[in-house]
């Protein structure tokens, strides 16, 4: 029953994604994109529904099942009957991709799945944050009955009572409908988010930059053991990473298909769920709005600003309203924000805190992902050999991603300097996770900027033919003179 519940949540998300971007029901890149995006949309929708039902009607499985059935039924009906229209997402034209690259992605995926399974067998209840925060809250919601608000009790400060409830709610929802507290639920949720993030990166890069870049990015993200571990340990940083990537990838697609404003709506939806996953989601929401504003003002006509921002706001409205309802009616104040202004000013004035944070950041970047060699050096080598080539049509997209990630890093840096009383402990326990939240989006930016590598010699007439292939549906923005960044 619990697996049926999770399958239904995923199907609901997939249906919402398919309703937004309908395509012919066949195995295609478009379908992979929808499968991946559907994970986050389904989890976000189910989690918000559970929390609203709990807050308004109390812990009633019957009411929850009723509203769940209506929502899932409507989404599935809408998604499955949606006629193919508008954009069809296909591999971007580019150099021929060797077959072995597909096999290497399959090998990386198999090792990532094996890693996830071993970690889940070893620690089925996850690591520290899972049982101290996320699954603990899920237990309070599920076991607590009328006293579910004890999940937010300030008597348990170590559980961070103000933290949002995306993961706890979706886990408690499955337990409630499945009538059993199965340990497999948080594992399955974490697995779907991990898989979804990897699928989303590969499919969106495939659409934007072609098969070779997409598969290579897929290998790198799947081989990052600390990213897979973050998922298997059932931390909320992985869902956060999913929503950051989904938002930025959808905004990149918006720039590729400028007339189809559904991408902005879907990006708003994903960005709106981010603060429901972790408090950093608010920072991301502000960062992505500012980044988008700057990118459009710099590279696009101002006429696109209004329509895109309106669609984005429309998408973000519902999830942000749910999070605001939670924050204003239920959540106690955040422990870091509850400090006195004089203490915060003293933190800022301590130059050592700036240096410690910078040092921590530099160290993390060198060991990022848990690779045998520093991945930044490997990506540097890749850039040296392949070079960047930013097409004019991708400038707004790339500027949006880079600015959003830069603002996130700056914001997180400021949070470390200003807030935590014990900065060293705080850096040790959280900095790598926060940087890993940006890891898939960083790869999106890197491979979007990098030249599509040519690794197979192709006869001229075949290459010309492949370049002429036009995608179906609404035409993407035509490629214009590119900016080579050597």
């Amino acid at each position: 029953m619990t697996f049926l519940c999770i399958a239904l949540i995923w199907l609901t998300g997939f249906s919402i994604a398919r309703f937004l971007f309908p395509a012919a029901p066949r195995w295609s890149l478009h379908s992979v994109f929808l499968f991946s995006l559907g994970t986050g949309l389904g989890m976000g929708t189910a989690s918000c529904l559970y929390f609203i039902c709990l807050a308004l009607f109390g812990p009633s499985p019957l009411i929850l099942a009723g509203f769940g059935a209506i929502l899932a039924g409507a989404a599935i009906l809408g998604g499955m009957t949606a006629k193919s229209r508008g954009v069809t997402l296909e591999w971007a034209a580019g150099p021929v991709t060797p077959a072995y690259l597909t096999w290497l992605v399959a090998a990386a995926a198999a090792m990532a799945v094996a890693m996830f399974v071993v970690l889940s067998l070893e620690k089925p209840q996850g690591e520290w944050d899972a049982w101290s925060i996320w699954n603990l809250k899920a237990r309070f919601l599920f076991r607590g009955g009328e006293d579910w608000k004890n999940a937010l009790s300030i008597q348990i400060p170590s559980s961070h009572p103000d933290y949002p409830l995306l993961l706890p709610s979706v886990v408690a929802l499955c337990w409630t409908l499945g009538r059993a507290e199965s340990v497999s639920v948080p594992i399955a949720v974490a697995f779907l988010f991990t898989l979804g993030a990897c699928g989303l990166l590969i499919s969106s890069l495939g659409i934007l930059r072609g098969k070779t870049s997409a598969l290579l990015a897929g290998i790198v993200v799947l081989a990052a053991s600390s990213f897979i571990q973050l998922g298997a340990m059932q931390y909320a940083d992985l869902p956060m990473s999913f929503y950051i990537l989904a938002t930025l990838a959808l905004l990149c697609l918006q720039d590729r298909f400028p007339r189809d404003l559904r991408f902005s709506f879907a990006a708003g939806l994903a960005a709106g769920v981010a603060p429901w996953a972790k408090n950093e989601g608010w920072l991301f929401l502000a960062a992505v709005l500012l980044a988008r504003l700057i990118a459009i003002l710099r590279f696009e006509s101002r006429a696109v600003l209004g329509p895109q921002f309106l669609r984005f706001a429309a998408g973000a409205l519902t999830p942000v309203a749910v999070v605001a309802f939670f924050k204003f009616h239920f959540a106690p104040p955040n422990d870091l924000l509850a400090q006195k202004p004089a203490e915060l000013a003293a933190h800022i004035a301590l130059f050592g805190r700036w240096i410690i944070t910078l040092e921590g950041l530099a160290k993390i970047i060198l060991v990022l992902g848990g690779f045998l060699l520093p991945i930044v050096l490997m990506l540097g080598l890749y850039w040296f050999l392949v070079r960047f080539q930013v097409e004019a049509r991708d400038r707004t997209a790339l500027a949006t991603v880079l600015l959003a990630l830069g603002l996130m890093l700056t914001g997180e840096f400021a949070v470390y300097v200003v807030f935590p009383p014990d900065i060293i402990t705080q850096l040790n326990v959280s900095l790598e996770r926060l940087v890993m939240q940006l890891w898939p989006s960083g790869l999106l930016a890197f491979f979007l900027a990098a030249n599509a590598p040519e690794i197979v010699a192709v006869p001229t007439h075949v290459a010309a033919k492949s370049q002429k292939r036009k995608p179906r549906g609404v035409a993407p923005k035509p490629a214009q003179p590119s900016m080579r960044l050597n």
């Binding site: 070779t212 290579l216 290998i219 053991s225 490997m378 080598l381 392949v386």
Partner: protein, 134 residues
């Protein structure tokens, strides 16, 4: 084209080798792992205690771990996780107190000094006490 080939192969090789290496490490850890600490052992230790708890109890907590022992906080969190939806507070200022101890028997002198009266010993280092402090 050779530069591109080298770039792709080098990046993919380092990524896959890293993943394989980490996987071997994990397998090795998994086969050697002992379950002396962690959620499963706490669920086992506290299973009887949890059944005896009044619904929605608020408990105090005391452990015989040294104050600066890093496992102190994790054991407290595991106790809270195991006993939810009861609330476990990280001090003993509650009517009922759960004692999480590691020695063969709890030190009664320390309990008395803290005005704690043992109510029931659940074995495996888990004891329910009443706080008689005024």
């Amino acid at each position: 084209m050779a530069r591109h080939q080298f770039a792709v192969i080098a990046l993919a090789a380092v990524a896959l080798a890293s993943s394989f290496w980490q996987l071997l490490d994990l397998f090795s850890d998994y086969t050697r792992a002992s379950s002396t600490f962690g959620v499963a052992s706490f669920e086992d230790r506290f299973s009887e205690f949890r059944k005896a708890l009044p619904p929605h109890a608020v408990l105090g907590y005391l452990s015989d771990n040294p104050v600066n022992d890093p496992s102190n906080q994790s054991e407290f969190n595991l106790t809270q996780y195991t006993l939810a939806p009861a609330i476990v507070t990280p001090f003993i200022r509650q009517r009922l107190v759960v004692l999480n101890y590691h020695s063969a028997t709890p030190d009664l002198a320390i309990l008395h000094a803290r005005h704690l009266t043992p109510l029931r010993d659940f074995g495996k280092g888990v004891l329910l006490c009443r706080n008689d402090a005024p």
